[in-house]
């Protein structure tokens, strides 16, 4: 069963200029993106900066209002609701079922609130009585591996990794059925990153969380996700189960992405960069397949016809005209 089904999600940001702030163009940050998250699974949304992955995450949580599309969320009672058109007021009762883990452990905690109050806030605003709140905060601190005294301290007394644990405790406070994690470990040092990744994996096992994991680091994604959706300039170019996708990518961009990760092996050094050129500008997307100017396999139709995301082999979706004919190298 799917906790979340996103269909044709689109978010355009107008470019305004002049005294009257007239719209002179549009940034197509997210363009007709569709995917789903099944209960208990982690879907990773992967891509480079500007690909729209964070915008997707923020639209799903309705921190941003989508331009069009549907965001169907299965509530605890089994009832399915489309979040896209809901007002701020209508969203409030649903918010408790989906929570976010932020990238920046420094900006995401109110520096003027005690850690205990930060973790208790979701409980408080959702009407959980004070006594229960206290007990729940202690329980959550233990769950994320922080001492109980942490609750009477301010966030700045904690390191980046500990703050991220606080952020995770806050996200878990209301027992949400969906967690959206936006680059939750990319601001952390390697040694601390590993702790947080392990914590997320443990929590998911214990709590059967469904998670949308937004990241750019393919190594991190491989560790945490069950399925992967790769984005390029506002569109999903490929989805599939993690191992299958890493072993045999079907989209040339996915393959290039994986080949670009520096191999931690001094005996296997790359001689040529896997991909030339720069990521396309979301305000000025190339016609046809947005990836065609950089694609080593591009042919005439790639320049003219935009490839739709379609099931190319069972369980795998690819937006590439040549998905079937190409044999691309995965991680070896």
């Amino acid at each position: 069963m799917n906790v979340l089904e996103v269909e044709s999600l689109t978010k355009h940001f107008p470019i305004r200029a002049g005294l009257l702030q007239r719209e002179v163009g549009r940034i197509r940050a997210v363009d007709r993106v569709s995917f789903h998250v099944a209960r208990g699974e982690t879907l990773a949304l992967v891509g480079e900066s500007g690909c729209g992955k964070t915008t997707v995450a923020r639209c799903i949580l309705r921190a941003l209002a989508p331009t069009s599309g549907a965001i169907r969320f299965t509530q605890e009672g089994g009832e399915i609701v489309d979040l896209a058109p809901l007002s701020r007021r209508a969203l409030r009762p649903i918010r408790r079922q989906m929570q976010m883990i932020f990238q920046d452990p420094y900006a995401s905690l109110n520096p003027r609130m005690l850690v205990g109050d930060i973790i208790a806030e979701p409980l408080l605003v959702n009407g959980v009585p004070a006594a229960t709140r206290q007990a729940r905060v202690l329980e959550l601190l233990e769950l994320v591996g922080l001492p109980a005294v942490a609750r009477s301290r301010f966030p700045f007394a904690f390191s980046g990794g500990q703050r991220q644990r606080i952020g995770i405790a806050r996200a878990l406070a209301l027992n949400p059925s969906l967690i959206v994690a936006d680059e939750p470990v990319s601001a952390l040092d390697v040694s601390v990153q590993a702790q947080i990744i392990n914590l997320l994996l443990d929590l998911q096992d214990r709590l059967r969380l469904s998670m949308l994991f937004v990241a750019h680091d393919l190594g991190v994604v491989r560790h945490v996700s069950d399925r992967v959706a790769v984005m390029y300039v506002g569109r999903i170019v490929e989805t599939g189960p993690t191992t299958a996708l890493y072993d045999r990518p079907l989209h040339p961009y996915t393959a290039a992405l994986m080949a670009s990760v520096p191999k931690p092996d001094p005996d296997r050094r790359d001689a040529t960069p896997p991909l030339a050129g720069d990521v396309a500008d979301a305000a000025n997307i190339p016609p046809g397949c947005a990836f065609h100017p950089r694609c080593p396999h591009a042919v005439a139709r790639c320049r003219e016809i935009r490839p739709e995301l379609r099931e190319t082999i069972p369980g795998r979706m690819t937006a590439c005209h040549r998905a079937e004919e190409l044999t691309l190298a995965g991680v070896d």
């Binding site: 980046g160 990794g161 001094p266 960069p273």
Partner: protein, 336 residues
Amino acid sequence: MADTTQPLLSVRDLVVDFGLDQGTIRAIDKVSLDLYAGRVLGVVGESGCGKSVTARAILGILDRPGRVVSGRILLDPGTGKEQDLATLANDSLALREVRGQRIGLIFQEPMTALSNHYTVGNQLIEAIRAHRKDLSKADARAKAVTLLGEVGIPRPDGRIDAYPFQLSGGLRQRVGIAMALAGEPDILIADEPTTALDVTTQAQILLLLRRLQQDKRIALMLITHDMGVIAQMADEVAVMYLGAIVERADVRALFKAPQHPYTRALLRSVPSIRATPRERLASIGGAVPHPGRRPTGCPFHPRCPEVITGRCEATLPRPVLAGVDGAACLHAEASA
């Protein structure tokens, strides 16, 4: 294997302090390293390990209130023109000439070196003419175009008149590299040159750096936190932790048989694109302590899985010497 030639730059027992109201923080503690022509020294470590401070101390651009307390920074050691940069005032003419003309710096964020108010060409020509005063404006411009072509900027004769904000992040970093090369230095320091870039752009910039370094026989000091970048780029590696070099080794030796427990833990904790699904990582407990709360003895002992209780917290391991492979660890001392 490193001692076959003379180094271009030798740092010996460098100590850098930051004097704050509340006390003095030791940011760099007895760091020694050598840079050789045509070779890449990778300096790797987590935040606060002092890798950037080392680079800034070499260039004499430490932020206040940091200062070099002791140690030597020798340019052309053992030759007739040996010069100790540590004795030069930060704003002295001699050091200003060294910066740019002998040692180039590539920043993490290229906009640190570039201004949005002048065209790429303006800034590049100025940098070229700063050390080649004999060049005419037209010659300098021609050289700037060549340089932009060398760093892989498409249509350099057109892009030279662009402003930095008109360029993508990858192109900007290429311009940053061109700026660092403008004075034709034989030493380059690259401080996390690809950290702000996307992975596909990072691959391009790394290869560009390696090609330039090899073609021009540049001594490159590459600072990064990414073990993958080290594996792809470095000849020798210095692993830093809390202001000290804890291990120095040839890159192959380091990845094959890391000596220091910190290096081993660091290598194990990197998420791999070859992992099995839901594979747990070997993590290092705790966090890097604040440099102001440096543990006694071995700075890594509170987090070390191989700590010898009673000894590591009391004994400071011998520092790693330049030019010699080894680890600053009591275990390594015992086996040596």
